[in-house]
Amino acid sequence: MPPLSMTAPLVAATSLSPTMIQVIASVIVILVMLHVILGGCAYCIMLERKLSAWMQDRVGPNRVGPKGLLQPIADGLKFIMKEDYNPRGVETFLFVLAPGIIMIPAMIAFVIIPWAGVLQLSSLPWGLAQTLGVEGMTVKLTGADVNVGLIYLIAAASLGVYGVALGGWASNSKYSFLGGLRASAQMISYEIPMGLSLLAIVLVAGTVEPYGIISEQSENGWNLLHQPLAAIIFYSCMLAEANRAPFDLAEAESELVGGYHTEYSSMKFALFFLGEYFHMITGAAFFTLLFLGGFSVNPLPFGPDLPTEGGLGLILLQWLVVLAKVTILISFAMAIRWTLPRFRFDQLMRLAWEGMIPASLLVVSMSALFVYMGWTAWTWAGSIACVAIIYMVWPYLPRQPNPNRRLALIGSRFSPLRDGDSIAVESTEFADSPVPPTRGA
């Protein structure tokens, strides 16, 4: 099946090839979406503060502008006007580079997301199509129409770990160093289940092209219904990759102050923050593309749905559908942040390596088997079978000692060794043990 934009133009009046027209349209989409997302980032912070205030029965920011709506602009100006300070002992070049290395991958990753369907250029107003000689042509409303879309996104997004590691190392602060180590360990750990659950989708869709995945979903129903377990794993990994609560170990205030950005001030700090929110918006859009059918409005394999190709009105409607889904996913992430407590670091690592990786390997094996058997419409049943298998295997997995358990170790100062005692672990509370004999008595 040839891509839709490659269909031969009816009127070959323009000197531009269809690819170049697509490139021009893509650059326009990038210009629009970059501003929308950057503004969205600023207002996400606002939304987060308002949501947390609402959940904790507070008022939230309400001083700047009507109902506090100008607060993000005031914050941005304040960030620029603050002192840009490099403490003593920092590796200056890397210290300045790190926020950039966070921000640039976050900003380039979003380009492959389809923000709407395929636009028929003949429907442009004021006879623009005739003037430009592009009648009968179509363009995809995406930043870059590359055929390895999903792999590009996951590769670009995972570059952010360099910024975290460099920022932590260059700061010459122990908090930053530990925060950077933890954050990079966390980000690389959660990349594996993320990649594997993405693979489950590729196995169902049979393509890594974003538009191919969306058209497959509008035909056969959303992947959320086909691969629910992969969706849950992917969403959790998305939160972990963006360092969002409950996975925000990198900036655990009670242990590490600010984590890897403890020593950063003014705009450098703001770029770390902006990168996190940018990452979250990209992640939500990616989840929309993979599991919520992109601009499709009907989750079921039958019934009416929006057409893929159309005029400006349809494109606008599809764009709003995508933005609505992204907003819902982000609000959900924020609700999670103010609901769940933070993990401990060992719990976080065990969740990734002993929980999510086996589970996602199971999902991928199940999907591969179902594809081989030709049961692609029944992968939801396979997901349920996977959950059943996990519950059956759970009691037989090797247990680790709980580090919080109290041990009354005989021979310790709480339970000193007496004559005739063997060295063993006693489970009695030390309050019940007899008064220890004083030494030398």
Partner: protein, 133 residues
């Protein structure tokens, strides 16, 4: 997708990626430059020290750290490289006939490939690589 169709991939499709990279770089440079130019400058002996909750920092922060991070990163590499190999496999595997002999061959080979790293994974688990206490 046939080899012919793959050969016709137009690299012009990647131009927007370059454009957005440039825009991101300009965004970062302008913002960092603006705050460096517009912000005040006041130095101080105490201000220059690393923040350690009010304690005087002892020694450099760049010291030796737990080897677990290194071992875990190596395990990550094994899996990450494996996943990269799985994507092309997945795309071509779905285009085979269900229950065909070729499909069984594809499935068996990739099962062996994944199986080798699962053996390594189980070994790492039993060795306590994922145990952080």
């Amino acid at each position: 997708m046939s080899a012919l169709a793959l050969a016709q991939v137009d690299l012009n499709a990647y131009i927007p990626v370059g454009v957005v990279f440039l825009m991101a770089a300009i965004f970062v440079v302008v913002n960092l430059g603006a705050s460096a130019l517009l912000g005040p400058r006041r130095a101080g002996a105490v201000k220059a020290t690393a923040y350690e909750s009010g304690m005087d920092p002892i020694g450099s922060a760049r010291r030796r750290f737990n080897v677990r991070f290194y071992i875990m990163a190596m395990t990550f590499l094994v899996f990450d490289v494996e996943i990269i190999f799985l994507y092309p496999w997945a795309v071509s595997f779905t285009q085979l006939e269900p229950r065909s002999e070729e499909g069984a061959l594809f499935l068996g080979r990739i099962a062996f490939f994944v199986g080798t790293s699962i053996v390594a994974y189980v070994y790492a688990w039993r060795k306590g690589v994922f145990r952080w206490d």
